[in-house]
């Protein structure tokens, strides 16, 4: 207990207190850059009734869910290959994957601008191949651009998570399945994915929450259709000075995330997916 107290104090200061402060903010009354009594739930009511908030929340949910699915789907075969097939390439490839994390978040976003832009790499390549006459404008400033950048940003983290989860899985298990006549597709659908379900769903949830809450990428790549709810929270705090509304929207999103998590756990329960896998040595 004594050993854990510094860490607990840290968590208390950087998590519990801001959380409590935000909760209090959300039920107070805001004026321009000030907040105080009376206590009211008006900010929640305004947020729920606002078409704009609903649109942005829908964008956040949709983009977050798709990004999380694509990221996990792309990371799974990479992690599998690293664990069972990479051999001497394992460390160099792991290094390459993790090295992309070193680049600044903003640099990676702007890199996608230069790839997907009107005169960017993608359009230039298609034009030089003679496949298009005019630049494709739909590549940038929309949900697709936000999605592709977010997948790029979160992919290395999920690869590492899944690689670590594959770690204790005995390769004999897959050899047994093969010996019993299971082809590659059957091994994936009947052995690997069911066994990896808990880390897959955890990874999905992690990427979903981080993507849906992002507010920088949508501003730089989102254009008119890819703006997400985080931008509105920032706007309430920074421009409008309505701290109560900003906090209320944040708590509503937190509620939505908690509900999504609860639904996932329920699905796992009814689908009889194990909550964790303990490998016997």
């Amino acid at each position: 207990m004594l050993l854990a107290s510094p860490a607990m104090l840290f968590v208390f200061v950087v998590f519990v207190i801001p959380f409590f402060t935000f909760a209090v903010y959300s039920v107070l009354t805001s004026e321009l850059f000030s907040i105080g009594p009376p206590v009211t739930l008006d900010s929640y009511r305004h947020a729920i009734e606002s078409d704009s908030v609903r649109t942005l929340a829908y964008n956040a949910g949709l983009i977050g869910a798709i990004v999380a699915f694509v990221t996990v789907a792309a990371a799974l075969p990479i992690a599998y290959w690293l664990r069972f097939c990479a051999g001497r390439w394992r460390l160099p490839v792991l290094f390459l994957i993790t090295s992309t994390v070193i680049a600044s978040y903003l640099v990676r976003i702007y890199a996608w601008r230069s790839v997907l832009g009107t005169h960017g790499l993608a359009n230039s390549a298609l034009e030089s191949l003679g496949l298009i006459d005019h630049p494709l404008n739909f590549l940038l400033f929309n949900r697709f651009a936000v999605g592709i950048a977010l997948v790029h940003i979160f992919l290395p983290y999920v690869v590492l998570l899944l690689y670590a989860s594959f770690g204790p899985m005995p390769s004999a298990l897959l050899e047994c399945a093969q010996d019993l006549g299971a082809g590659a597709f059957r091994r994936w659908t009947r052995v690997i994915i069911p066994l990896m379900a808990p880390p897959l769903l955890s990874s999905w949830m992690l990427v979903f929450v981080l993507s849906a809450g992002d507010y920088v990428t949508p501003q730089l790549l989102g254009g008119t259709t890819g703006v997400m709810i985080g931008v509105e929270v920032q706007n309430q705090f920074k421009s409008v000075g309505d701290y109560a509304s900003g906090a209320a929207i944040s708590f509503l999103m937190l509620g939505a995330f908690a509900l999504t998590y609860a639904l996932l756990r329920l699905t796992m329960h009814f689908a009889k997916v194990p909550q964790r896998i303990e490998w016997s040595s």
Partner: protein
């Protein structure tokens, strides 16, 4: 050891505070501030509470500045910093709203800010501004009449006390790519034509959007009636429909123009020409359309809570030096506020504005005050800010 360090050591010795006690006290205070600071910072009345900026102490140490990128004058001011033992620490802002968001959100220790002239009453109401001592800024006497006389009380409060020092200005017009936009637009209304669909961009900033809409509709942004506000909102919404999304900052506007992702900026700005050229596209030019431009002047101010007032005063005074003014105008692609700086301007800086007939030009420009924070007759600043997300989020839909 700098003068500032010496002052800190002297203060510690005078109070017999040991390092251990200082750390202990500091950690307890930090914990307390982390816990309740933001809550207390946000809770409070919005009544005016302008205090006086302290000019005590010596010049030196850190000058914590909260302002636009480049306003720390890394080219012009380096030698002065060295000679005076000053380190200018800039926290850059993306929009003017960052200033009140940070200061009212609990940020402390800021010595110097800049404000767009229209924010004067708001910042007074929020208790951000302090009254300045003109005797500490002798170079104030060199201001051009437009800036010195201050007929609209942008830089003095209604009591006549100085609250800001206008040191640079600029004009917003239409910034466009001369290679892809032919013929050049001559009116803001040209950008609403179908040929510009998807080619326009503008900043995600209510102030600039409503100011330009008011220029187009010949309204006063500071005194908009509800019907006028509705017209302005409809116009901005229509303009937003011409974009592929709003840009989060002027830097991003320049980036979009330079890369060809946008051909024309409604919230154009003379400095964007330079920013885009630095980003590799020399074909970006700004023109003032026939409706006239929307002008801004940024003023230095010392916020309440500043802990290095002497250095802030020294910096403000120095930026009104004619040589500094001319050099800064080149560095920022802006205008000068000091008469004697005009002959010192480079040819490029002089070409930005009609300096030969500057008084007339400045009178014709629209230097707005933002809407009032409380009014029964006019639309308030809060209403304007609350409407903006609807415009942004529905752009192009």
């Amino acid at each position: 050891m700098t003068n500032y360090d010496q002052r800190v050591v002297a203060a510690l010795e005078a109070q017999s505070i040991t390092r251990r006690r200082l750390l202990k006290r500091g950690s307890v205070t930090a914990l307390a501030l982390t816990s309740i600071g933001p809550l207390l910072a946000a809770c409070g009345s919005s009544s005016p509470k302008t205090s006086s900026a302290s000019s005590g102490g010596e010049v030196g140490g850190n000058l914590d500045m909260l302002s636009w990128q480049g306003y720390n004058l890394t080219g012009t001011g380096k030698q002065w910093e060295k000679e005076n033992g000053v380190t200018v620490k800039l926290t850059p802002i993306a929009t003017q709203d960052d200033v009140q968001a940070k200061l009212k959100g609990g940020a402390t220790g800021t010595d110097l800010i800049t404000y767009y002239q229209g924010y004067a009453r708001l910042y007074e109401e929020l208790g951000i501004l302090t009254e300045l001592d003109p005797e500490q800024i002798p170079n104030l006497s060199g201001l051009m009449p437009f800036f010195g006389e201050d007929a609209k009380e942008f830089w003095k409060n209604p009591k006549g006390a100085r609250i800001g020092v206008p040191w640079t200005w600029g004009a917003e017009g239409i910034t466009y790519n001369t290679q892809t936009v032919k013929p050049a637009p001559t009116s803001f209304f040209d950008l609403l034509e179908p040929e510009f669909k998807g080619r326009v961009t503008f900043t995600d900033e209510p102030l600039a959007g409503y100011a330009l809409a008011c220029v187009m509709l010949k309204q006063d942004m500071g005194a908009m009636t509800p019907p006028q506000f509705e017209k302005a909102t409809a116009l901005i919404t229509e303009m937003a429909g011409q974009t592929r999304g709003l840009a989060p900052s002027y830097g991003d506007v320049a980036s979009r123009l330079a890369s060809g992702d946008a051909d024309v900026a409604w919230t154009g700005w003379t400095a964007l020409d330079q920013f885009a050229a630095e980003a590799g596209n020399p074909n970006i030019k700004t023109i003032i359309p026939k409706e006239g431009g929307y002008a801004f002047s940024d003023a230095w101010a010392i916020p309440s809570g500043a802990d290095n007032g002497a250095t802030a005063y020294a910096w403000i005074n120095q930026t009104l030096d004619p040589k500094w003014q001319a050099s800064a105008a080149g560095e920022l692609a802006g205008g000068v506020t000091v008469e004697k700086a005009i002959p010192l301007l480079s040819a490029e800086s002089k070409a930005l504005f009609p300096y030969d007939e500057l008084p007339k030009f400045l009178e014709e420009q629209n230097f707005f005050m933002i809407p009032p924070t409380k009014s029964e007759k006019y639309v308030t600043f809060g209403q304007m800010l609350e409407t903006w997300p609807e415009i942004r989020n529905n752009a192009g839909s």
